[in-house]
């Protein structure tokens, strides 16, 4: 009787029944290398290993993406990217996304590299995003990733699984981002520490794939190792449209054991805002009053998907961004960019006074659109740690794309229901 995480680890390690606390060595189905590649090179050199002497264990199972510092804004970054390019060529990495990049956690599933039931590691904490596609996906550090690149194997401790059952129906203007911010605020950011989450309940079943990616992405903000969804029709359709390769979705056994089950009534939720400087400082938007903002952002691996851009465009039809607010929207990939263009979304956003950024991590992590001391930003991104977007004395508020858009229109943190 096993949970999704236990079953995937059992399959990947060739074990029988596994229980929480067991250690296994498992075969990796996909290794995801973001721009952390620079750090991987550095640790190898420090350990006296020539990076070019590495041999990728299976070139079908490695994906690399230049995403964090694109386009290069300093000589230091340009040189690092140059070294990465040469290295990727030497290692014969087949799936290397350099031109037309995007945020890694969009590119990797958008290009069909993620399939249900797989065990995936990435050199980035938000690798949990692929849990939306029923994959046990998690972040690891640079040294371990170097080991995986060569061997295709890694040790794991089998985590306990906890279940979140989201009941009821999401009210107007309340989204999956609000659910997860609410959970972080109510149960704290270590509620799922070292655990696998299974997201369940009628609200979860009704969510689009884009909305599910947001939740599995932010599962790591609750401390989780995996943020898993079951595979349904939507999942299968999403994956089938992108790959011909075989896959086997994984269902939890009926008698699987959960360390804890949290039941949440979504019908009672209002839009949420996480106050500086932690995801766990979430409050209902009605409790956050009269906070003027300088910048608004919809971008990153958490948002910046087509549905997020559509929400902003629908709210902005016939309206204008507040003259004192810099509102930036960064599509998560060039595919999303093109789709937004075809649907007329970019036109609506531009006419309303929104500026469109290139797909990258830039706005989320203080590389583009940096904040000065005393400035406030409301962002549809996953983290609001102190100093993340620039000055230590700037403030970052996290919210859904709808709440960000409402705030950009009003010039202060605002409830999206105010501007409908």
């Amino acid at each position: 009787m096993m949970t999704i995480a236990e079953k995937i680890l059992a399959r990947a390690s060739g074990s029988g029944t596994l229980s929480p606390g067991d250690y296994v060595t498992a075969h990796i189905d996909l290794a995801m290398l973001p721009e952390m590649l620079g750090m991987i090179r550095r640790v190898l050199l420090k350990a006296g290993i020539d990076p070019a002497s590495l041999r990728i264990w299976d070139t079908e199972k490695v994906v690399a993406v230049l995403d964090h510092y694109v386009p290069a804004a300093s000589l230091e970054i340009a040189e690092s990217q140059q070294q990465i390019r040469e290295w990727m060529e030497k290692l014969h990495v087949k799936y290397y996304y350099d031109l037309f990049p995007g945020v890694c956690h969009q590119i990797v599933h958008e290009k069909g590299h993620v399939r249900p039931g797989e065990l995936i590691v990435g050199a980035d904490s938000h690798t949990t995003t692929y849990g939306a596609l029923n994959a046990a996906a998690t972040g690891i550090g640079a040294s371990e990733m170097a080991f995986v690149m060569q061997t295709g194997k890694l040790w794991f401790m089998v985590p306990e699984t906890i279940k979140f059952e989201i009941n009821g129906k999401l009210p107007d203007c309340v989204y999956s981002k609000d659910v997860i911010l609410y959970i972080a605020g109510k149960y704290s950011t270590d509620v799922a520490q070292y655990k696998a989450i299974e997201w369940t309940g009628p609200v979860v079943d009704a969510l689009s794939m884009d909305a599910r990616f947001t939740m599995s992405n932010m599962s790591v903000e609750l401390g989780a190792k995996f943020g898993l969804f079951r595979a349904d029709r939507k999942t299968i359709d999403y994956v089938r449209a992108r790959t011909d390769k075989e896959f086997q979705p994984v269902e939890p056994d009926p008698g699987a054991v959960y360390a804890e089950t949290y039941v949440i009534n979504a019908s009672a939720l209002e839009p949420q805002v996480a106050l500086p400087h932690g995801v766990g400082n979430a409050k209902g938007v009605s409790e956050v009053k009269d906070v003027p903002i300088d910048q608004a952002v919809i971008a990153s691996c958490c948002h910046g998907r087509i549905e997020d851009l559509e929400i902003a465009a629908n709210m902005l039809k016939g309206k204008k961004v507040h003259p004192k607010v810099r509102f930036w929207v960064g599509p998560a990939s060039w595919e999303v960019y093109k789709e937004a263009m075809d649907k007329g979304i970019l036109r609506t956003l531009l006419d309303a006074g929104v500026m469109i950024a290139n797909p990258s991590c830039g706005f989320c992590t203080g590389i583009q659109g940096v904040l000065a001391a005393g400035e406030r930003c409301i962002a549809a991104t996953p983290r609001n740690f102190k100093g993340r977007m620039g000055s230590n004395d700037a403030e970052i508020f996290l919210a859904s794309p709808a709440t960000v858009t409402a705030s950009a229109i009003k010039g202060r943190i605002a409830d999206p229901r105010e501007v409908l």
């Binding site: 250690y23 060595t25 350990a47 041999r55 550090g141 270590d190």
Partner: protein, 176 residues
């Protein structure tokens, strides 16, 4: 491995990777990066830390990003054991990968004051304050993570695998 003793260096809860290695220090050479380690909560830590000291912390040590610098700098400061109530999972993995021993023990942070002697007994799997005699149990590493720690981290292991691998591109080698 039997018991080891060292001096406890106390930290609170939610010590995140930005606190251990502030962003502005990440691009600095290691000798400089060390000077900033734990700066926001313990400025000048690098001056008082001695090889063999043991970190004793509360919940959620090492939360935040997957940046390995935050583990590397602790090792470079001469620390080999981190004892805490709980540790963020990527940080814990990075510890094992770099040859640091994560010791997770409920109730441990209340057992020690800054500078107390601390004893870690691997046979009995207990962390003890020899002065007060109070002790709490922990789960020792076993299996592959134990082997990795004993071998000084994952990169020496990788180095060996690469050196032993027959030449030729794309040829797989076997991990333990």
């Amino acid at each position: 491995m039997d018991a080891i003793r060292g001096r406890a260096r106390k930290f609170g809860e939610n010590i995140d990777t930005d606190t251990i290695t502030p962003a502005a220090s990440l691009h600095l050479p290691m000798e400089e990066m060390k000077k900033h380690a734990f700066g926001p909560v313990a400025p000048g830590f690098y001056k008082t830390v001695q090889p063999g000291d043991i970190i004793v912390a509360d919940n959620n040590f090492g939360c935040g990003s997957s940046r390995e610098h935050a583990t590397e700098v602790v090792k470079e400061l001469g620390i080999r054991y981190i004892v805490c109530e709980s540790m963020a999972r990527i940080y814990m993995r990075n510890c094992v990968a770099l040859g640091l021993y994560p010791i997770l023990a409920k109730g441990v942070s209340r057992l020690f004051n800054e500078g107390d002697e601390i004893e870690i007994d691997f046979e009995r799997a207990m962390v003890t304050n020899p002065k007060t005699g109070k002790a709490v149990p922990f789960k020792p590493l076993k299996g592959t993570p134990k082997e990795i720690f004993d071998g000084g981290g994952i990169l020496p292991l990788l180095k060996k695998l690469i050196e032993e691998a027959p030449p030729g591109p794309g040829k797989p080698v076997t991990a333990p």
